[in-house]
């Protein structure tokens, strides 16, 4: 299935990007998973930021599939609409120095790769504009041209599920005998 993600990076040099920015609550009345990309970063794609530049001017969903953000990406709510929206907007991976727990869990279940790199590597990316990156999921490495190839943490189970396209609910359902025994204790 998916072993590599090769794409230009897109920079969002903001710390603590929360899930309310990724998908504002007004769009959570949906009962669907699909179609949320148009609302992803809804306010930031429409309003000038502090530096009076639009944060997403220059974004091209056909070319930018790796988002590079400041520290603590995905903090806030448990809404899975956040990774649904990012995927629908075109992203396949998010790079930050720290990624919030629930967002990370939700992202992995939908095939959006959370990549945690050290501050030096993320700073390099944020200072160099869009960069042609090559992510090797099995090797857990990102090749950053002009910098070096860096490793990121990813547990064996998550890597296996991503690469093989394993559905985690199927895995849990295979444990039903154990669950029944636990309930009988």
């Amino acid at each position: 299935m998916t072993k590599h993600i090769d794409s230009l990076s897109f920079n969002l040099p903001i710390d603590n990007v929360d899930t309310d920015q990724i998908i504002p609550a007004q769009f959570l009345t949906t009962t669907e998973r699909r179609g949320l990309g148009q609302y992803c970063f809804y306010h930031w794609r429409q309003e000038p930021a502090a530096n009076d530049e639009r944060l997403f001017s220059g974004f091209d969903p056909a070319r930018h599939r790796i988002l590079v953000a400041g520290a603590n990406f995905g903090c806030g709510s448990s809404r899975e609409h956040a990774p649904w929206a990012l995927l629908d907007m075109g992203f396949r991976a998010v790079i930050s120095t720290r990624i919030a727990d629930i967002f990370r869990s939700n992202a992995l279940k939908n095939g959006l790769l959370p990549v945690v790199l050290d501050a030096e590597a993320v700073d390099f990316l944020l200072q160099h504009g869009q960069t042609a990156l090559s992510i090797d999921i099995a090797a857990r490495t990102v090749d950053i041209p002009g910098y070096r190839t860096v490793s990121f943490p990813l547990d064996a189970f998550s890597a296996y599920c991503l690469i093989e396209g394993i559905d985690t609910l199927d895995f849990l359902l295979s444990k039903q005998d154990l669950i029944t025994r636990f309930e009988a204790r």
């Binding site: 609550a25 959570l28 949906t30 903090c75 448990s78 727990d101 609910l169 039903q176 154990l178 309930e183």
Partner: protein
């Protein structure tokens, strides 16, 4: 070998299978709370696969996020913000009917915010594992439960298997010792903590709150404390159960009764961290240092004492962006900033003790004209209790709006929101950009501080409004 922490005891008891380097643990879930926003896609996935809900008896559902807080109009129709919001609520009705899940819907005396009604009903108990598709599930940790928020895919996992795949998180203990000053409550404590350890200071960890100040807190104060654990990134927050916990639970509709109560009590009394338990990190907070605290920026770690000034951004672009959004400048005094809207409610501060605190300030006072004040009880039960005590009349006479229970302006997806540029003092849990309406500027505060701001129409220290007998 060192002893076990409270978290480790609950974790161990719920392992269907332990984690290995190759696979995560399978963790059994005792109680699954559901609401309309994060469940429809999970039920749809079950239907697509032809799966049943494994344990409907371990599920409890309510409607709170998308629900209007104004009563039905003369035509009998509820004023939903959109047809989509109404359809979302109807979808939960259909799913609960189809799967035989108890739903506290319209007209149910126990309807309310999911994290208010679980404890109220006695569904939340010490030692349980509790999940919900909602990050503020950490609230239930106040009872010595392991309670955390999950995404919609995991809601489906729990519906189908009553289990989750989990990697064991790290641990952190936060000791809060000493006496809190008058006018300082659990909300000030948790805002102070998030400011101290940072908005990601708890990432990857479960926090246990300990120390004399926590022991001296009521159950409702402990819920406020645990509620915002997610705002420093923590997986969960918890407090070891004690007599305060047991007194709160005894006699609740879903709490065990009779002989079963005594059995549970024996078990619950063993639910505390062993004296030699080790934690990955320990933080000590002196209760006496905590002041009435508010946020000045766009995440809950940007906190400051009400009497202090806005800290400078010091060249940090994200902080500078936050200050610009909030319309404040480094060095500006917090007090006397004008306030347009006050919101008192939410799963953080929408319980009866919160409303009593607000009423203690608003009683026999008038809200500053031009400062719109919305007071939203956390549940039907809180609403009934408040009205029985006459708190609603105090609020209305002061000039506030007294609404129907729900999440309301905390998440602002039901139509209750502020306008761009308006400054909102809110007892809720998130001050993110646009959280309470596009361009709205949220400052998080305690119910006492929020009520004080309503009266003065400006950011205010609540201690000037405290009667000496309220100390």
């Amino acid at each position: 070998m060192s002893g076990q922490s409270l978290f480790e005891k609950i974790w161990q008891r719920h392992l269907v299978s332990a984690e290995t380097p190759q696979a995560p643990a399978v963790l059994y879930i005792d109680l699954h709370l559901l609401h309309e926003v994060t469940s429809p896609q999970a039920f749809a996935e079950l239907e697509r696969r032809g799966l049943a809900v494994r344990r409907p008896d371990r599920c409890l559902a309510t409607i709170d996020h998308s629900t209007p807080t104004l009563p039905a109009g003369s035509d009998g129709r509820l004023p939903y913000v959109s047809a989509e919001a109404e359809a979302q609520v109807e979808t939960l009705y259909q799913n609960c009917r189809a799967h035989n899940i108890r739903l506290c819907g319209w007209g149910d005396p126990h309807r309310g915010i999911v994290h208010v009604i679980g404890p109220e009903l006695g569904a939340t108990r010490p030692g349980m594992t509790i999940v919900c598709g909602d990050s503020h599930t950490s609230t239930h940790g106040a009872f010595g439960a392991l309670a955390f928020g999950i995404g919609t895919t995991e809601v489906g996992h729990v519906l189908a298997t009553q289990c989750l795949l989990q990697r064991k998180p790290g641990t952190m203990r936060i000791d809060i010792d000493g006496d809190l000053p008058a006018g300082v409550g659990a909300k000030d404590v948790i805002l102070h903590i998030i400011g101290a350890i940072g908005v990601d200071g708890g990432t990857g960890k479960v926090i246990e709150y300990a120390g004399s100040a926590v022991r001296n807190m009521s159950m409702e104060a402990r819920m406020t404390l645990c509620n915002m654990s997610i705002e420093c990134g923590a997986r969960a927050g918890m407090v070891a159960p004690d007599e305060v916990t047991f007194d709160y639970l005894k006699g609740r509709p879903l709490a065990p009764g009779g002989d079963a109560w005594d059995q549970y009590l024996l078990e619950w009394k063993a639910l505390h961290s062993d004296s030699d338990a080790s934690f990955d990190e320990v933080v000590c907070i002196n209760a006496a240092d905590i002041q009435p605290t508010v946020t000045y920026g766009t995440h809950p770690g940007m906190t400051v004492a009400v009497r202090d000034s806005v800290p400078a951004a010091n060249g940090n672009a994200s902080d500078a962006k936050a200050l610009k959004y909030m319309g404040v400048e480094g060095g500006q005094a917090m007090q006397d900033m004008p306030v347009d809207v006050v919101f008192i409610g939410s799963c953080t501060n929408g319980r009866i003790s919160d409303l009593r605190q607000a009423a203690s300030v608003l009683k026999n006072r008038r809200i500053k004209p031009g400062t719109r004040t919305l007071i939203v009880p956390g549940s039907e039960q809180v609403k009934r209790q408040a009205e029985a005590e006459g708190l609603d009349r105090i609020f209305i006479q002061a000039g506030a709006e007294w609404r129907e229970p729900g999440c309301s302006m905390c998440i602002a997806m039901n139509g209750d929101l502020a306008a761009a540029g308006e400054r909102v003092v809110s007892t809720s849990n998130r001050n993110f950009e646009g959280r309470q309406g596009r361009g709205a500027r949220t400052m998080l505060a305690s119910p006492l501080t929020a009520a004080a701001c309503a009266v003065s129409g400006r950011i205010s220290d609540p201690r000037q409004f405290l009667d000496s007998d309220d100390d």
